[in-house]
């Protein structure tokens, strides 16, 4: 069975909030040139390396944006085939920061999150969860359910984990039917936060980001609306990412599209609808640009990631998370390149 993969989505999301009809390579090149300190000379020297850097954001204590770029001699079709096989990525190809990556079937069932293994710390967090004071991001109904569960040794860990996994399945099922209205309102802290609001905040985190691919962003916000023209794969997946502090579960909605635009040859967007730590919202975009689009020879894949935190992060923790996510973006760019090469070997 083919195992190309998916990470495109997970991996490659370029946060291009781009501008209307003319979105494309020009806006990306501008983003690289004006907002990150990635220069054309950096690209010219890039070779087979990857490069990821932070973009300036309005409030550094609450937001983070990363842009990454890699040169890859691939085709949009190879990227698409890799993305369509997200559930088949060999473990050996996954970077260390990606502990798990699983497709969510439609409809989801009780086995969907079976591979989700909670750490002892997370099990303890579930067990001790209280309204407005929980070490995992949860809605009030789940906090109440967990609080009411009997604490029986030695089965408590599995009981709490099973309840959590079941709630995730219910949330995903409801999201497929009702979109953002079904997403959770986090009540782990005194300031309640709706996951859809967190996503919106993440999208707006770049101070002067161009409005990229508006039809894609609109679709993800208005889901279940009809998909935009040229949409190819529309799916959900979950992953566990390790940024160097706490492994973080994310549940995501991904869309890949073959735009009717020669500048932008392939694009995928990821909307994180749930993260159990750190993120109030997360939006990622990945794009394969036309040849020489960035003003230097070659074809480049650009990945943009926007994150909004669920509260203010102190400088120390933000530094840890930021470094971890920059490294993660670089890892995912490497993975995208490897998967694309695997899906359609050069020559």
């Amino acid at each position: 069975m083919n195992k190309h993969v998916p990470c495109l989505f997970v991996v490659a999301l370029v946060t291009l909030q781009m501008s209307a009809a003319a979105y494309g390579a020009g806006e990306l090149a501008n983003l690289l040139r004006t907002e990150s300190d990635i220069k054309q000379s950096d690209l010219a020297r890039l070779g087979n390396a990857v490069l990821a850097k932070e973009l300036p954001v309005a409030d550094r204590s609450r937001n983070l944006a990363i842009i990454g770029v890699v040169r890859m001699e691939t085709t949009p079709r190879a990227l698409h085939l890799a993305a369509a096989n997200i559930d088949d990525i060999p473990q050996a190809l996954l970077p260390a920061s990606v502990r798990n990556l699983s497709l969510i079937p439609d409809p989801p069932d009780e086995t969907t999150f079976a591979r989700l293994k909670l750490t002892k710390t997370q099990q303890k967090a579930l067990r001790s969860c209280k309204l407005d004071k929980c070490r995992m991001k949860l809605p009030v109904h789940l906090i109440n359910t967990l609080t009411a569960l009997p604490y029986r040794w030695p089965d408590h860990a599995e009981t709490f984990s099973r309840t959590y996994r079941s709630a995730l399945v219910d949330m995903v099922s409801s999201y497929r039917e009702r979109g953002d209205d079904a997403l959770w309102v986090y009540r782990d802290k005194a300031d309640a936060l709706h996951a859809a609001t967190g996503y919106q905040t993440a999208l707006q985190s770049i101070s002067s980001a161009p409005q990229l691919v508006p039809e894609v962003i609109r679709y993800l916000q208005e889901y279940p609306a009809p998909p935009p023209e040229g949409a190819l794969a529309d799916f959900m997946f979950w992953s566990v990412l390790d940024f160097g502090h706490r492994p973080t579960l994310t549940v995501n909605h991904a869309l890949s599209i073959r735009p009717d635009n020669p500048q932008l040859q392939y694009l995928f967007a990821i909307k994180t609808i749930y993260a159990n730590h750190y993120f109030g919202g997360r939006a990622s975009f990945g794009a394969l640009l036309e040849e020489d689009a960035l003003g230097v020879p070659g074809r480049y894949f650009v990945l943009v990631e926007h994150l909004s935190f669920d509260g203010k992060l102190n400088r120390l923790l933000r530094g840890v998370v930021s470094r971890g996510i920059v490294a993660d973006v670089e890892n995912r760019l490497e993975l995208v390149r490897a998967l694309a090469a695997r899906a359609a070997p050069p020559g």
């Binding site: 088949d88 497709l103 040229g230 794969a233």
Partner: protein, 69 residues
Amino acid sequence: MYAGQHGDYLWELVDGVLVISSPRAGVIKRQAANNRFNNAEQATWFAQGQIDMHSDELLAALDALKKDV
């Protein structure tokens, strides 16, 4: 209407429905395709992606059909 072959499967996109079949076993799966396509390339990639993403399900259905024969 768009049609093609991907791996062991044939596919057709007709009136918003993707039909995946096997040359030997016949129709294996039908699913709604609300996507709007501007050209054959987009339709082809969509169909190929659906076949890849549902490969396990298609294989199981194919096995079941073969046993029935």
